[in-house]
């Protein structure tokens, strides 16, 4: 066991959408977490409910990890498609768990593969003189040094059914997921009790003891079978429990939801859309929550979540709620955001605090709804006709999802404008272990909200001019503070006014708020800078979910003698031009890394700093960037910057 890499591996499981693969993946991850390990899990699936292929990668480690890696150490399959699609991702020395009953499946019979894909795989196999079925795939892997673990799932299932004396074979069939996970864990040498506990946690919610028993039986049988047949297994990787403190095991959009709740969001509107609606549904499932002692007498807090008829209603309803004084937000992704632009412009014009969480998925149009991309940045920055201020925050990891969601609520109210919180699908649908975030790191800041609202003499002017562009804000129903709003240009009271001088002052007022925000928001919330040890060879510039891969890629680069520093842009509006200019003009070779086609942030940087970043690494195939892609592509660029002005990353299945 001494030659094993311990607690540092990447496990994958795949299967038809809706067949329980997601459950398997979380059971695996949970077992690891229970063993004190850290995990980072990603999820790939089609825009489909049932039947098309989905797969999960769970990377686990003894220290906190933040990114996807290339290469699978152990692939668990129980259908032919997973085998066919992913066997080539398994690294030499890694292993594949498969059902021998499926090994005869001809590749062209996997009808959820596109025709082009079938052709391509067949071609690849033919080149190696192999046949055209699952067996050939296995053979190919074997030749590459991959270990094969045949697990006859159906006979194991029958054994379990027999033992439990049940005739509900369809139900027992479902334990195939747990079997695959358990065999995996057994091969990796992790004690069975973690998987037992994981099964308890997963199924106890359903309150069906039978289900728990059935799956526990599956765990037992699988561990038994693995021991029997594979012994130590001979894998080069393994898992051992370690001591760790509490860690939160959280999905990106849950982190956002928690951040919003902490940040005081009490009205959330939404129209269902992938991958945004999970957040709203999480909020709805937790609509009643506790308040801290001393907050109110009954200690009861709640958030009203409204499913609207469309995204136009979602944004305008949230704005209506904000006018009444609630901290209000809405969540959507590209297509929905397109429909929100008019409403957002109104909020900008009327200085209404509202938060729009924009989950970025593959575009344009319906695009690739379940795949990741960072294609909405320039749209978010320029959305809506005319010129109105907005703040755009881009989260790069789970923790930022939480804190940024909280801060977004603050920004909105302090600067009285819409805040767009950009979160890539790659983050929203990934899960990972983090240290529980600390909401008390941030104060709730309500800015110039008029809280007292005592009876008041004289005219209240909602849009009173002020040096910082921000006016005292009353809410609807506040006695003595009547005001008007209109999407038309207006005077200080909020009445329509087309006078040219008034116009100039009001435009200036609104836009000044962005300058104020730029001045007041600390640099630590605008950019994050990760220095190299010593003078950097390269300066990586990026934003959003590429962060994790970049940070871990930097470590690999450093090991190869390439000193990299990393500038993460977190606030895209107001743009931290000064900070960015400084960093990229005095660092190493600057490389812009983005998950879109046109390198949008590089365009924004050029606009704001007049510095053109020549070298770009982009990825837009809908699959997240991995640590190893960063490592390889940066090396490639560094080796010949002129020949590699634009490197397109292509990994991912």
């Amino acid at each position: 066991m001494s030659s094993k890499t311990v607690n540092e591996l990447n496990w994958m499981i795949g299967g038809a959408q809706g067949s329980g693969v997601d459950l398997s993946a979380s059971a695996f991850a949970r077992s690891c977490v229970l063993a004190g390990l850290w995990v980072y899990g990603t999820r790939e699936y089609y825009s489909n409910i049932k039947g098309l292929h989905s797969y999960f990668e769970i990377r686990t480690s003894g220290r906190q990890i933040r990114s996807k890696v290339e290469g699978v150490d152990l692939l668990a399959t129980f259908d032919a498609e997973t085998l066919v699609r992913h066997a080539d991702a398994v690294t030499p020395g890694g292993g594949i768990i498969y059902d021998p009953a499926l090994s005869q499946t001809p590749i062209e019979k996997v009808d959820t593969l596109y025709k082009d894909e079938i052709k391509q795989i067949q071609g690849r196999l033919a080149q190696q003189g192999l046949g055209s079925d699952a067996n050939a795939i296995l053979e190919e892997a074997k030749r590459r040094g991959v270990k094969l673990f045949a697990v006859p799932f159906s006979s194991l299932i029958q054994e379990i059914a027999k033992r439990l004396e049940t005739s509900e074979l369809t139900k027992v069939n479902r334990t195939v997921n747990v079997l695959a996970v358990s065999v995996s864990l057994a091969l990796l040498g992790l004690d069975r009790r973690f998987m037992d506990e994981s099964v308890h946690q997963a199924f106890s919610a359903s309150r069906k003891q039978k289900l728990v028993d059935m799956n526990l039986a599956a765990v037992e049988r699988a561990y038994g079978y693995a021991k029997e047949k594979f012994g130590e297994g001979g894998l080069e990787v393994g898992l051992v429990p370690i001591q760790s403190g509490p860690r939160m095991f959280v999905v990106g959009n849950q982190a956002v939801a928690l951040g919003k709740m902490a940040g005081g969001c009490r009205l959330q509107t939404y129209y269902p859309i992938t991958p945004a609606s999970d957040e709203s549904e999480f909020l709805e499932a937790h609509e009643n929550f506790a308040l801290k002692e001393g907050a109110t007498k009954d200690g009861k807090g709640s958030v009203v979540v409204v499913q609207t008829e469309d995204e136009i209603a979602a944004i305008t309803m949230a704005v209506g709620g904000a006018l009444a004084g609630a901290r209000a937000a809405t969540s959507t992704s590209g297509p929905g955001f397109s429909l929100m632009t008019e409403g957002m412009g109104w909020a900008g014009m009327n200085e209404v605090p509202v938060v729009i969480t924009l989950y970025s998925r593959g575009g344009p149009s319906t695009g690739m709804p379940t795949r990741t991309e960072q294609g909405d940045l320039k749209f978010a920055l320029n959305a809506s006709h005319g010129e109105s201020p907005r703040i755009v925050v881009c989260s790069g990891d789970m923790e930022e999802c939480f804190y940024d969601a909280f801060r977004a609520m603050n920004y909105a109210e302090r600067y009285q404008l819409p805040v767009i919180h950009l979160v890539d699908k790659g983050l929203a649908n990934s899960n990972m272990t983090i240290l529980p975030p600390d909401p008390s790191m941030i104060d709730i800041e309500r800015g110039k909200l008029i809280l007292d609202g005592g009876a008041k003499d004289g005219e209240y002017r909602r849009f009173a001019h002020s040096e910082d562009g921000i006016s005292p804000r009353a809410v609807l129903g506040l006695s003595g503070y009547r005001f008007w709003n209109t999407g038309d240009e207006h005077d200080e009271l909020g009445h329509i006014n087309e006078n040219p001088e008034n116009r100039i002052r009001m435009m200036k007022k609104r836009m000044t708020k962005l300058e104020t925000a730029d001045r007041e928001i600390p640099e630590s919330e605008k950019v994050s800078f990760y220095p190299a040890k010593g003078h950097p060879d390269v300066t990586l510039v990026s934003w959003g979910s590429s962060k994790g891969a970049i940070l871990e890629g930097m470590a690999l680069l450093e090991a190869r003698g390439i000193k990299a520093e990393f500038l993460q842009i977190r606030l895209a509006s107001p743009f931290p031009a000064q900070a960015v200019r400084e960093r990229i003009s005095r660092g190493g070779l600057v490389i812009d890394i983005e998950q879109n086609y046109t390198a949008q942030m590089a365009a924004v940087i050029a606009e704001k700093t007049q510095i053109g970043i020549r070298n770009k690494i982009v990825k837009f195939n809908g699959r997240p960037i991995s640590r190893d892609e960063i490592y390889e592509s940066v090396r490639q660029v560094v080796s010949k910057p002129e020949a590699n002005e634009r490197v397109v990353l292509t990994h991912g299945a």
Binding site: S244, R247, M248, G264, A290, L291, G320, G321
Partner: protein, 325 residues
């Protein structure tokens, strides 16, 4: 303290065309506001984009002049956040039944306790007189280059199909009737529609004030114009759906509503067509999920402690997400 009309009016220059039915609606609304027993500080007027939309500025309450077609979701957002507000949404027929038709339908499905008043003038006033969705097929108002090519919607029937629980129609220049109708709509618990027939002297030369007041058809007896609008309730119609009624009774009433709503031409029905106080409001429905909703709606919640820290007790909530200790 009783309010005077001057209290609920702003002193801005009103820029509607002279003779516009909007003046009648404004006056009736404002009179209703002075007569209603509602705290004026809690009243919020939402309006859409169109000539009608400016009413929010002429009225001295909170006034939110929103976007074309979006009055209803804006208004519902405010009501949801603070159910203590008295929300009156005001739309145009292009605004509310045209571009806003989707929201119109879905607002009925929610049945929030609020009022929606529509200035129904058959045209898009502010964009210079194109046909609105209530203009009849083949009609050709003044500014149309060709007769109208679309069939009209029947707002009463649409509201019924959508689930509005109070459905009424009135006439802009029947001040008394309109005022009373608005008061009843506001008093109703649930989503109330008041469709107001509104002459637009500038662009609608068919449904004019003279048309509604029947100047072309003098009463043979009195020789005075015989108004086209008649009050259905004065004619013995009862719009009420009671708890006691059987489903068949309700069906019957529904059918009656539609039948009457189809009348047009020489007899134009006004009055309350339908009133059903037995459908739970959206507020009631939220209470079913969040028992503290009415006392602590979103706008009234305590979100921070004395020390400005978040009031939400999240660590308790996220125990379910945390592993290890």
């Amino acid at each position: 303290m009783a309010l005077k009309l001057a209290d609920v009016r702003t002193d801005l220059h009103n820029d509607w065309c002279s003779g516009c039915g909007d003046f009648g609606i404004e006056a009736s609304l404002q009179m209703a506001l002075t007569e209603m027993s509602v705290d004026i500080h809690r009243v919020v007027i939402f309006s859409g984009i169109g000539c009608h939309g400016k009413i929010a500025h002429w009225t001295n309450t909170f006034g939110i002049h929103t976007l074309h077609g979006r009055t209803l979701p804006f208004a519902q957002g405010a009501k949801l956040a603070n159910p203590g507000l008295e929300v009156i949404a005001i739309g145009g027929d292009g605004d509310g039944y045209g571009i806003g038709a989707g929201h119109f339908v879905h607002s009925g499905r929610r049945n929030l306790d609020m009022t929606y008043i529509v200035h129904d003038n058959g045209v898009y006033g502010l964009t210079k007189g194109q046909a609105s969705p209530t203009q009849r097929l083949g009609e050709q108002t003044k500014s149309l280059p060709q007769p109208n090519i679309n069939s009209a919607v029947n707002p009463i029937m649409l509201a019924l199909a959508a689930g509005y629980t109070f459905i009424a129609r009135s006439y802009a220049f029947d001040n008394r009737h309109l005022k009373e109708t608005i008061k009843r709509a506001v008093a109703h618990r649930g989503m109330a529609l008041v469709d107001v027939l509104q002459p637009c002297p500038t662009y609608n030369d068919i449904e004019t004030k003279a048309f509604y007041s029947g100047e072309d058809r003098p009463d043979p007896a009195t020789h005075r114009p015989a108004p086209r609008c008649y009050d259905i309730e004065k004619s013995g119609y009862n719009p009420l759906i009671t708890k006691e009624m059987t489903p068949e009774d309700v069906d019957k009433k529904t059918l009656e509503v539609i039948k009457i709503s189809n009348e047009w031409g020489d007899r134009i029905p006004i009055g309350v067509f339908y009133q059903n106080g037995n459908v739970p409001t959206y507020e009631d429905r939220i209470m079913g999920r969040i028992p503290t909703y009415l006392e602590q709606p979103p706008a009234k919640q305590v979100i921070q402690l004395q020390d400005r820290k978040s009031a939400a007790d999240l660590p308790r909530l996220w125990k379910e997400l945390t592993i290890g200790s």
